[in-house]
Point group: C2
């Protein structure tokens, strides 16, 4: 990596500052951290066991509760927010030392906030909100007042800290959450990798030599490692789902425009006419995906941010018997054995539990991917490259490939390209809706990626997640309630 | 108008055929029809009184019921669908002879359908659906199996009749409606006038020399004249609201993508990336706007058409006390005295009834209109002009002006224009949401046009309706339930 001297200094300062924010008593011995590198086959879970930093109670808090259960325990006075916050801060500090998954660390603010919430509960006798006292981690792209949002660009180290919160941050705080860390994203955010020039490589906790996926890289790692029980990501092509899959946790891309996306660090160029991104949670359980989504929507996010549509949360009863569409993969991009095995196990278990599984022939992925690629090519401003060049950052291979792809055939990209993209998407939506209608589907079971986690730098195009951005989720669009219900039902079947 | 000989013949045939579809016993004497012309100051309501065709019962049915009341009476067996259908067919035949508001006439099919519905009720003991037996008129753009959809273009007279129904037509039929006529639209559909080269000029029933407005021209006239109790229109810049206002009835543009818009005759070029159109009802009462919208949404239109979002109908209680934002107009385009008077009367009555009215300073209309104009300029395909030229149709002045405006600065219209349009709209939406939040508004009271009906050919740009297409309705987007509730509450206050 060739980085201009000035920026190397900024990066060094940033990383030194970041390291200093981990309290000395939470630091791992050098004997352990020496084993951490992007080429190591070690497991962060194993390394953690070599030096006990968390108390027995803290291990219990971080490993044996869902977010919903933690909130319940805190509201009942069985746990304090300070205890819970301390446990997750500690564990996230361990995660950071073993996987490099954090960008901003603000434990002291979190403790102060947790104390205030504990006092609030003691005084008022009722919790502050549906997320009372719960530590929540958040992707670096979201603005948290007083914190940086460098979103992978060395050049953005020169920007001041945020002077206000993203809409979703305001809502989470209003609901009683405690923020304590922000998490890493890959260079440019538009690749499913986990390297950036400021913070280096985020490592997969199961095997450090594997990528954490992206772009919600750090969040995927932190939640899988139980350094967070609930995290906020985002997704325009797989950015919440791929890291969930790569690290082994739950991720959800809601229908776009249901959760507020506004007030983030600039990612997409303003006026973006293509496939819309969505904010979405990562969690250790399906029920926590619902808790998060319901809480944010019940806060009427449209009052905070015009990117959120006025579609109130609906309380929908769970179906005892689902009709699950099963898309085993596309023959041009056959899934690898672990994915095929996981899917076929799921199908067997779902059938055994009395659900109907209908194997589908979906429209060829290549057509959907071609249309999606048209969307990404609509930004010909060359901003990514510009921001990288500003600091002399060298693009990683995935980013070079992306930039080349975005600008291939650039001469032919014009106003007509928008019409073509929109028209093709209409057809795909209508064709897909027809399949749904005819099969009376509740939800789709589909590969989230061609394989499981891959070595750093080798993910390639997120073939199996992009289509559901174009189609806007694996259920009926805006029926996120039904999709989350189905996810809970399926998750219960698979975990039994 | 210079029309190629072949097409003049097609037009003549079409109009002769149309005239023949009015049963002889429903024809008005020549002494009356001689008084009908676009330059006459006569009133169709007065002319109708000169020759009684409708029976006393038919006058009662067409004048003294809401759609909801008619459905109730038919379901209770107090009226048959055949009686109701006959009354509206007759009155629509009178309307046609006095105002020229129809395109397709299919009374015989309507009688047959009404008889079937009466039999259904007699046999099953329950109505077919929430619109059981109700005659509904429909804008020419919607496809009705076996009928033409020329949408104003002489060249489209050569197309065959529809082989399937538009999604919304299927839903209305499933709900028990009886279709009997299709209604006129202006040349190209993109002007608020009421002339087209096939059917000539649609006349305002209050004064024939005035325009019916557009583009849902015929529907506005027919509903105002009580030749229909409920009609289906559409709106991308005022097309449902302007004719409602010009003819004196109720019109509603729901949030786009709530009612199904699919399967219509081609109007917008496929892949349209601009402001989205919406299907919407015209009716003689606010409660019938709700009846229509609720019925269509409760039919889960997304199962029929991917243009309808999966946003279920919500039963929302009516508010006793509304907070009404009042936008009296923009000083660059001051409203004319009748509009100002209507608005100030409304404000007084609302206040007297205990509602809160907050006078607002809205963002300048000119900025919103400029952004909206960018949207319309995105179609540089010249299709309107092409379709007109195909039959040698000469554009009316409003259409020439429109085409000139769409193509002005065409060299600068590019992919960047889409970005610019989308970015500006984002800002306007956010700015508008801010006003709504700060004032805690339920709904907006705003001019629907600068004035009331104008002489034929003089409407100009729909300055006061386009902004609410850009913003997507006068309430919170997708809170159509709340907007309809507020409309009912306000309507009751004004009518008392």
């Amino acid at each position: 990596m060739a980085i201009f001297p000035e920026y190397q200094q900024l990066v060094d300062q940033k990383r030194a500052k970041q390291a200093s924010l981990i309290p000395p008593e939470w630091r791992l011995p050098k004997a352990i951290t020496d084993k951490v590198s992007p080429s190591s086959n070690a497991s962060a879970f194993d390394l953690m066991l070599e030096h006990q930093i968390l108390t027995k109670e803290e291990l219990d808090i971080t490993e044996n509760y869902t977010a919903a259960a933690l909130v319940k325990s805190m509201a009942a006075g069985n746990l304090t927010s300070l205890e819970v916050t301390t446990a997750f801060c500690k564990r996230s500090a361990v995660a950071q030392q073993l996987t490099n998954c954090l960008t901003e660390i603000f434990f002291e603010k979190a403790f102060e906030r947790a104390r205030q919430l504990d006092e609030y509960l003691a005084k008022e006798g009722v919790p502050k909100g549906p997320l009372h006292g719960l530590p929540i981690s958040i992707k670096d792209t979201y603005m948290v007042e007083g914190e940086y949002a460098t979103i992978s660009y060395v050049s953005k180290l020169k920007l001041p800290t945020a002077t206000s919160n993203s809409a979703i941050v305001d809502i989470l705080l209003e609901a009683g959450a405690v923020l304590y860390v922000k998490t890493t994203v890959p260079q440019t955010l538009f690749v499913c990798e986990s390297f950036n020039s400021i913070f280096g490589t985020t490592l997969n906790p199961h095997r450090l030599s594997l990528s954490a996926g992206g772009s919600t890289s750090g969040e995927g790692v932190l939640v899988a490692f139980r350094g967070s029980v609930l995290g906020v990501g985002s997704d325009i092509g797989g950015s919440a789902r791929v890291p969930a899959l790569a690290n082994g946790t739950y991720g959800f891309k809601p229908s776009s425009n249901r959760l507020p996306y506004g007030g983030q660090q600039e990612i997409l160029r303003k006026g973006w006419p293509g496939i819309m991104p969505a904010a979405g949670p990562l969690a250790s359980s399906a029920e926590d995906l619902t808790l998060f989504t319901r809480t944010v929507i019940e806060a009427r996010p449209w009052l905070h941010d015009a990117t959120a549509y006025h579609i109130p949360w609906r309380s929908v009863p769970k179906k005892d018997r689902l009709v699950v569409g099963f898309f085993p993969g596309d023959e041009l991009f056959p899934v690898f054995p672990p994915i095929a095995r996981a899917l076929s196990t799921a199908v067997d278990k779902l059938k055994a539990a009395g659900h109907t599984v209908k194997r589908l022939t979906c429209p060829p992925l290549i057509a959907i991917l071609t249309t999606a690629a048209r969307s990404f090519a609509l930004d010909q401003s060359g901003r990514f490259g510009g921001w990288l060049a500003e600091a002399g950052e060298e693009p990683i291979k995935a980013v070079s490939d992306l930039i080349a792809q975005m600008h291939s055939g650039a001469d032919d990209i014009s106003l007509e390209s928008v019409w073509q993209f929109t028209a093709e998407r209409e057809d795909i939506l209508e064709e897909s809706a027809k399949i749904w209608r005819e099969n009376e589907l509740d939800v789709l079971l589909t590969p989230g990626a061609r394989g499981t986690a891959v070595p750093h730098g080798n993910f390639g195009m997120p073939i199996y997640s992009i289509p559901w951005n174009l189609l806007d989720v694996v259920g009926w669009r805006f029926e996120d309630e039904e999709v989350l219900n189905a996810t809970e039902v399926i998750s219960e079947v698979l975990n039994n």
